[in-house]
Symmetry: C2
Subunit: 357 residues, 2 copies
């Protein structure tokens, strides 16, 4: 049977700790060269709405040690509204019932069969958090207690779940520009984590004294500056442009999630999906050769050292998502969902065939 799972099912079974641990194991396999990751491809064409584009993205990964492969697909109507001079990327939920379309197909790498099909949203959030959590596991001081967070969105919550899964955090200060947002976020996360999250009125207040500074925003411009750095600080970002180039140059250890590099862009004629508009800053900080930076899989595999002294300034940059992460996290979800009897079972024959394709 092939399992159809919902975001609710995935939320029930996939803990942040699960995801961090399975990624740690899977990244060792990736660095060893046994697992493989196919870089995300982004295809863009025009669509009915003149102010929008249709975007079809896919990424693949196989973790043979876990017996799985995955393809993650996003089928989006995308707009780029400008708001106070800043351009944001906004997906328009245009599917029936005003819904978004992101799917993961999980396959067995031992039989080829489709094991499960599920939406990507909950896993997306957890796996982004988990990658930054792994960065903190290897790069933050072991005795790190204080977290400063910039951002109060959905990813910001996952970042806190991740950092509290790998360190004994005692205080969290959170800044985001809208007071109402940061206050309700702080209330909600205090309850979720059982750790007091304090909303503060400036980024400086959030970061000052933090052992771990986390950026989890949706802007395409820097929010963390060199002047914020303190000795021994670990800086964590969910996308490269959040951190000023000077920070990357100044840090003692900088680790990139992956050197998969830029996504493969396949773009219809006459469409402008320039770097500034779409790709979250692949073009920024050109003084730095990102290809030469160490990566998280190397760090997990012990091929490069993590933090070696308490005063080092460390920095983890989450640059690109991998289908590989969905395969690894998918293996946990599948196992636990089967055990818990979650989801809808459909005949695997519906998704397989007797003709040699």
């Amino acid at each position: 049977m092939t399992l159809i799972l919902s975001n609710d099912d995935i939320e029930k079974v996939l803990t942040m700790q699960d995801c961090i641990d399975v990624l740690d194991e899977a990244y060792v396999e990736l660095d060893e060269g046994n697992g493989v990751s196919r870089t995300r491809s982004d295809s863009f064409t025009r669509t009915l709405r003149p102010d929008a584009l249709y975007s079809l993205k896919s990424m693949d990964g196989i973790v043979p040690k876990l017996g799985v492969g995955a393809v993650r697909i996003n089928s989006d109507i995308v707009t780029w509204p400008t708001d106070g001079g800043k351009t944001r990327r906004v997906k328009v939920p245009s599917a029936p019932n005003k819904r978004y379309v992101g799917l993961v197909l999980l396959f067995s790498s031992e039989t080829g069969e489709p094991l499960a099909i599920f939406p990507d949203g909950v896993m997306q959030r957890i796996r982004v958090g988990a990658a930054n959590g792994l960065g903190a596991r290897y790069l933050a001081r072991k005795d790190a207690q204080h977290v400063g967070l910039l951002g109060s969105g959905w990813q910001a919550g996952a970042q806190l779940m991740a950092v509290t899964a790998v360190r004994d955090i005692t205080t969290i200060r959170c800044f985001s520009p809208n007071p109402k947002n940061r206050e309700s976020f702080a209330d909600e996360m205090s309850a979720t984590l059982g750790i007091k999250v304090t909303p503060v009125a400036s980024p400086e207040e959030a970061i000052k004294g933090a052992d771990i500074a986390m950026c989890a925003t949706n802007t395409l411009e820097p929010v963390f500056f060199e002047k914020y750095i303190e000795p021994g600080m670990h800086i964590s970002s969910i996308k490269r442009p959040e951190v000023e180039t000077a920070v990357i140059k100044r840090a003692d250890i900088v680790v990139l999630h992956s050197n998969d590099g830029k996504p493969i862009h396949v773009i219809a004629k006459g469409i402008d999906v320039s770097e500034a508009k779409e790709d979250k800053g692949w073009g920024i900080a050109s003084e730095i050769d990102f290809k030469t930076l160490p990566t998280l899989p190397q760090l997990c595999n012990g091929r490069i050292a993590g933090r070696t002294s308490p005063d080092q300034v460390t920095c983890f940059l989450n640059n690109i998502g991998l289908g590989y992460q969905f395969a690894a996290a998918g293996s946990v979800v599948y196992r636990k969902a089967k055990a818990a009897g979650l989801g809808t079972e459909l005949p695997t024959d519906w998704f397989t065939e007797d003709v040699h394709p």
Copy 2:
């Protein structure tokens, strides 16, 4: 509702003529730059069977004019047995009930929603035939009547359906090495097409006097040689290595299916998926710069001329499959299947989400 279709459903609704016509239209869009095609990626790792590999392939395409995008996925256990000195690529049907795994996900490029999910096998066969059919539409003599065919497998049948859809064919001679295979193939295809298919004992007998020579084999070595060429002949191949390099050099017009080039290979360490073994001869005929050859989309769009005189020797090489073909053919299948009430409807909410992924 999202439609789950079977190969039987697709066989009922997708005629060769449909597929040729919709590809003709879609290729114009592709050549105009409105449609986009993301080159196939092939990821390989080890699997449980020591003599096999796990292969996860994907290809994407969007045809905005038809309002669709598609991702085609193959999840295969692959072996390469050697048989009489020749290496063949053999997929092992390892999914439950000894089945293969090839899936197409069809999306709306107007709303992003998943319209349909179906196996790729029947469409795979028809779209390969249809591409060669389009090649014949633009390159074979208008009065072509005689077909010589090398091969008697599943693809060979589709090649005959395609050529008879675009020309008034009166005689077909077919050779393949195994007399039993070619005889039963000839019987079956005579009945299907209503045109006498005659099995013959040598490739020369099949090709001599043919207006259209078609290769549809599963070998990775040449089966059509320069010495077979006759004035005015159109030569059609389902994969590049079937046709000797000298043929390509000698032909007056050579058109390639696509200059998408080689697939993107992502291969685990220590695995040998050398060109000879896997990629159907991307490396052959290095004297010819395939990137400079005209392509089928250019031909359909009239950017390059087809046949201009009855004596020209023309050649069409089907080199790589495109996700784009599955999108185009998928749009026809979806429309006709909906109208005919075929398939199983599942709630689209199962494959969409209310969280911003």
